[in-house]
Amino acid sequence: MNCTRYERWMWDALEGRLGESQAQALQAHLRQCPRCQRQWESAQATYHALHALPRLRAPEQLMHQVRARIQHAPARPPLFGGWKRVALAPALGLLIVLGYWAFTVRTPDATQTIVQEPSESWVEMHEQLEVADWSPTPTANYFITTGYSR
């Protein structure tokens, strides 16, 4: 009995994506396989619970706050902001390097703190998104519009 195949079909069945013959085969299998029957029950419960998760309303005052902030942050003209950011990046990088250098020189035997990357997956995912953009090659604007910061 190929239970794995039926397990794969369960979510398709829940979404109504299963063909009729497959649906019948699944039903037949469920009638005779207690293990898959249990799986089916938990899949159903999971599916329905996920789709019935409470929807909260965004707090009303939040809109007022955004409105206020927008009035103080006029929209950027299409290109200027991007270029400014690009020009700023190397300068900032240099500053960081200098700062780091100054720090290490001044405190030569500072205790080595193990700054192991905390959550690899968050970092990895961010890197993946970093290279992404709507245009074929990432534009400077990506850094503004998508909230990427280092």
């Binding site: 019935a52 942050a73 990357e117 968050w122 992404a132 503004i144």
Partner: protein
């Protein structure tokens, strides 16, 4: 993304909705604040729920949602309409959430490394608001089961969580998720299977009566 073919009736409605959105975007791009306000009203709840489940804290979710709209407002002049507005906004939200969690994780890590300060936090400390069920239908559904599912979702890795939330909760299509996350559709599907499987395990344990 305004579709160009208006061939038969069924499609007309969708095209209308899309061009209404396109008009709204155009107005917002021309600094029409009322138009941007409409955009916010259209997406605030959806984005808020998504962000809240991504980061787990209502306070952080509020801050992040503000930031999403601010970035959107600033980035709108450069929005070329190749993506749908919703996909674009989810993408901004996803980026901000990931950046936020990354920083948060680093902060927690730094604290727990200092020898004398033993902190409780390490990724698992999700504070969930006491979720109010908005209608009787939902109230009828097992509240406990929902809590189990909320916690199972919260404990997923970011990769799995984003896909599951976007598909099963926010109801984006595979294609839209692929664009939001910049990954192939096949990857979306496999991550979704994986994520569902993990949540299902929690539910199964709950249904069997295992504690936790």
């Amino acid at each position: 993304m305004v579709s160009d073919t208006v061939s038969y009736d069924g499609r007309l409605v969708i095209v209308d909705a899309l061009s209404a959105e396109a008009r709204l975007i155009e107005r917002a791009q021309a600094h029409d604040e009322a138009a941007f306000e409409q955009i916010m009203n259209l997406y605030a709840d959806r984005l808020y729920n998504y962000i809240l489940r991504m980061v787990g804290s209502p306070t952080d979710a509020e801050d992040l949602l503000q930031e999403v709209f601010l970035r959107a407002y600033q980035g709108l002049p450069n929005f070329d309409g190749r993506a749908s507005l919703s996909t674009w906004l989810y993408r901004i939200a996803t980026n901000l959430c990931i950046d936020h969690q990354r920083k948060r994780a680093r902060r927690v890590q730094t604290v727990s490394y200092s020898a004398w300060e033993d902190e409780e936090g390490e990724g698992g400390a999700w504070e969930f608001p006491d979720l109010q069920t908005p209608n009787p239908m939902e109230a009828a559904l097992n509240h406990e089961l929902q809590q189990v599912v909320e916690h199972a979702v919260a404990s997923l890795s970011p990769k799995l969580k984003t896909v599951l939330l976007l598909y099963d909760v926010e109801e984006l299509s595979y294609e839209e998720i692929a664009r939001v996350l910049n990954i192939p559709i096949g990857t979306v599907k496999s991550r979704l299977n994986h994520a569902r499987g993990q949540v299902q395990k929690h539910v199964e344990a709950y249904l069997r009566g295992d504690s936790k």
